[in-house]
């Protein structure tokens, strides 16, 4: 029966207002959630288990502040919670994150890894393929649906001319897009389980970061919008769309 791992990341709530002060991010007043695409990964992992048995382990890399997103995953029905962390990992770059995750996934003995196609904070989209590369596993990205075989999975992925159904043998990594698989909601029973669940903390080696964030800056303020009222203004609006916005 498959040993299924799902990668989850703690990110700021997508409607949180992010402020930058002194060149660094101020996240003190921000609510954190599971990254939205990871919800699809969790859904795929749970359906995989429901179809073929096995266990689902939610894995995250981060400090103890990340226990909450693991518990949220537990409330949805995953079996095991594992957090990967080492001192001095506060500023790990993608290379470091992927190396550490790959080594943990190897240690967990997993057959298949699901993750979101990108995280809502960095939006880099490199974790799935990066982890697969380091492990030397097959992988696909942006899957909108998956079905489950005895020794692999079939995934629907977008192509330039439509969609393709591709088969992957274990061991493999599938990064999930929003698709046909509507993520489930938690329920009280799951929440009670989450309360009692224990997060296993493990460690790994990671290469020293070679990428440094020099400074953060907020995006430029959007210019204020213009409002026109009444049918009499239609020509003005058309002119503005053509001459100022250049969209028609």
């Amino acid at each position: 029966m498959p040993n299924i791992v799902v990668l989850v990341k703690r990110v700021p709530d997508t409607n949180a207002k992010i402020t930058v002060s002194g060149g660094s991010l101020d996240l003190s007043a921000v609510k954190f959630v599971i990254s939205p695409f990871d919800e699809y990964a969790i859904e795929a992992a749970l359906r995989h288990k429901e179809a073929n048995g096995g266990t689902v382990t939610a894995l995250t890399l981060g400090s103890d502040a990340c226990d909450k997103v693991l518990k949220d995953a537990k409330a949805l029905g995953v079996d095991n919670l594992v957090r990967l962390w080492n001192q001095g990992w506060e500023n790990l770059d993608s290379n470091g994150v992927q190396s550490a995750l790959a080594s943990a996934i190897g240690d967990l003995g997993s057959d298949v890894v699901y993750c979101g196609k990108s995280a809502a904070d960095s939006n880099a989209g490199s974790t799935g393929p990066g982890v697969a590369e380091r492990l030397g596993w097959t992988s696909v990205s942006n899957a909108s649906a998956v079905s489950f075989e005895e020794a692999g999975v079939e995934a629907m992925i977008p192509t330039s001319s439509g969609q393709a159904r591709v088969g992957l043998n274990f061991p493999c990594v599938v990064s999930m897009d929003k698709g046909e698989m509507e993520p489930r909601r938690p329920n009280v029973r799951g929440i009670m389980m989450a309360k009692r669940a224990v997060v296993e903390v493990i460690s790994a080696e990671a290469p020293t970061p070679t990428v440094n964030v020099v400074r953060y800056s907020p995006p430029a303020e959007k210019p204020p919008g213009k409002t026109y009222e009444g049918a009499g203004n239609v020509p003005t609006v058309v002119q503005a769309l053509r001459n100022e916005a250049g969209v028609i």
Binding site: N15, D72, A75, P186, I191, K195
Partner: protein
């Protein structure tokens, strides 16, 4: 869930964040917060987009029954027999989030959990508990609670519905009125007099001589089903009586739980109105300024915040007392009475801030305002709770003018 996220990214959607001026969230356990967020997300995604239609059609959508059962929130504070076993505080936040959606939705859950499941859980025989509770917790079976009669509302002790012991069965005769979930219900907990003493009975849909016609024409709680229960020589088996509980203590202990939940529910309705009024005041320009810039409007918003904050602290503290078992009924009367009262005033004030828009179904205001009129009356009217507190202060029973 997803389209909301996309809209949020686009910045179109104004996310709802409950007002929490005194950081009551920090008093909630992780589990209580998770339950709160679960119900809040469900209400946001499934209830709010459909509530106006449910109200104009005058129906309680069956999907909501299924979802409440799947989330596992029905009969929240009850333990065992498939019930959730949450804290009373968790039950409170569930009611709050449901009523942020609609009082009719919260009424459904209150009646199911506190008025139908609770008496079975507390007063039922082992067989009754095993037979009914698991299916009610999962939402498969709906329950209702028949106490009020056409001629006996605030004074249920004088009810005339009666039960007769016919040897191998009971015979019920009489009528109940204003019964939430009545027509939908698979089972009814009915209070009736046996040899002049109030006893509790379980009547099942389909029992001979029992019918539950729906009452039509409500302007309030339109997304909740309200019914009559009619018993005409209604024959029920002998094992459908609660074995030991006698007198008004039976129905009143159910009401204590439901009223506690209502005190939280009213906060949810008030929050919805406050949120809408705040957004509206900030975006509505008159005399070249957002109306939120005027002191009169700020005074109204500030009053709303003040009353919501007090109501939150009242209900939270009462919830802790429910969990510790150190409460007494008059404390529940105060919370129910106060919180519904301020919610209704907040709805009215929010309507005023919305100007003409406040009367449209595009905003939640009129719906909450109309709903709260029922909430003010049911489960002990505002006045009756004043009299309960008055009796506590003076030792004089004012309902009957006797000590």
């Amino acid at each position: 869930m997803w389209c909301r996220l996309l809209e949020r990214v686009e910045g179109v959607y104004m996310p709802y964040e409950g007002l929490d001026f005194y950081d009551v969230d920090s008093l909630l356990t992780e589990e209580e917060l998770m339950v709160r967020d679960m119900v809040r997300d469900w209400v946001e995604d499934e209830v709010l987009p459909n509530i106006e239609k449910a109200c104009s059609d005058g129906v309680f959508p069956d999907e909501w029954r299924v979802a409440l059962g799947e989330m596992g929130v029905l009969g929240a504070p009850l333990e065992g027999y498939g019930c959730p076993g949450l804290s009373y505080v968790a039950y409170g936040v569930i009611c709050q989030e449901l009523e942020r959606g609609d009082s009719g939705l919260r009424s459904f859950a209150s009646v199911q959990g506190s008025l139908a499941m609770y008496p079975i859980w507390d007063f039922g025989s082992e067989e009754q508990k095993n037979k009914y509770l698991p299916k009610m917790a999962s939402g498969e079976w709906i329950g209702c609670f028949g106490l009020t009669e056409p001629d006996y509302g605030s004074n249920p002790g004088d009810m005339i519905t009666k039960a007769e012991d016919m040897g191998d069965h009971f015979l019920l005769n009489g009528a109940k009125m204003w019964i939430t979930n009545g027509t939908l219900a698979d089972i009814a907990v009915v209070w009736a007099k046996l040899d002049g003493v109030i006893r509790g009975f379980i009547v099942e849909k389909g029992d001979e001589g029992f019918s539950a016609p729906e009452m039509k024409g409500k302007y309030s709680l339109r997304a909740s089903v309200t019914s009559e229960l009619v018993f005409q020589d209604c024959k029920i088996p002998k094992d459908r009586i609660f074995p030991d509980i006698k007198g008004l203590r039976g129905p009143f202990s159910c009401l204590n739980n439901a009223r506690y939940g209502i005190s939280w529910g009213a906060i949810g309705a008030a929050q919805a109105c406050f949120h809408s009024a705040k957004e509206y005041a900030l975006s509505r320009i008159q005399f070249d300024q957002p109306i939120a810039a005027y002191q009169l409007v700020q005074n109204k918003l500030s009053w709303m915040l003040r009353e919501i904050t007090k109501a939150q602290l009242l209900s939270y503290h009462l919830g802790k007392k429910k969990d510790d078992g150190t409460w007494f009924p008059e404390q529940i009367s105060l919370a129910k009475m106060n919180n519904v009262d301020i919610a209704l005033d907040i709805a009215r004030m929010a309507r005023d801030i919305h100007g003409a828009n406040g009367i449209l179904d595009e905003y939640c205001i009129m719906r909450h305002m109309a709903n709260l009129e029922s909430v003010k009356t049911y489960e002990g009217t505002h006045d009756i709770h004043n009299l309960i507190i008055g009796r506590h202060i003076t030792g004089i029973q004012a309902f009957t003018r006797t000590a």
